[in-house]
Symmetry: C2
């Protein structure tokens, strides 16, 4: 397959595929004119790479995980890397779930004050409810490393 085909089938840009190769994530042999040649399996590999990118893994992290797909043999080093990324994902999922639930709370709270579906004018003076309802504690989740 040529690079355009893989790009189309995997749903990524041609540039992305060249970038993956540059990062060592995707190898391609070359035709006589220097054009890249991919096996069919490249499509699934690219989709897997995309999934990991979408999950927030970096190129180098993916590079450490990918060899397992090829060899199906995990060195202890690789296994620990897999588990570390799994745990990181779990933590991030928990953070996102917290944020999701918090937004859900706000939405429900908003529905209480805006139950007139058509009257969108700002004349809705909400009944003087005690605003002193103690705010829930939030997660101090840090994603960025200072």
């Amino acid at each position: 397959m040529r690079i355009g085909d893989v790009a189309k089938l995997a749903g990524v840009s041609v540039r992305a595929l060249r970038y993956y190769e540059e990062q060592g994530l995707l190898i391609a042999d070359r035709g006589p004119g220097g054009h890249r040649q991919y096996p069919q399996s490249a499509v699934e590999r690219v989709k897997f790479i995309q999934m990991l990118y979408a999950a927030g893994l970096s190129s180098s992290a993916i590079l450490q995980v990918l060899p397992f797909l090829d060899t199906l043999v995990a060195s202890p080093r690789m296994a620990r890397q897999l588990e570390a990324e799994r745990d990181r994902l779990k933590a991030q999922i928990d953070d996102l779930t917290k944020a999701h639930d918090r937004l859900e709370d706000l939405i429900r709270l908003a529905a209480l004050y805006e139950d007139s579906p058509a009257t969108c004018e700002p004349n809705e003076t909400p009944p003087t409810t005690p605003v002193t309802r103690s705010r829930r504690r939030l997660s101090g989740a840090r994603l960025t490393r200072h």
Copy 2:
């Protein structure tokens, strides 16, 4: 409170707080010398902002959501924004969960081939299992918009 106190209590950098103000997310009045003065509530506000950042919201998205915290009154526009972000979060959580489960599968698969806890030498020739086990289908989740 001064900016350093808020930073310490909220667990962010001083630079971040100035950046939040620059983005309109956090207002501070000034002391006679030009130093920023924050109320106690700023700490929780910053933690909330951090949670939304960690959830992948952009500054402008947070800016559209935040006024609701202050007024507790949601315009229809604001309510739709809240719901949109909630849905985006839900979708992202699903993606992350897929990736997490996939990693979990790999880890379990790895455990089959590497059940000798101490012998870490690469002499473990796994039993010749049919590697032709068809790979599961992957999600073509796209986060980046080309």
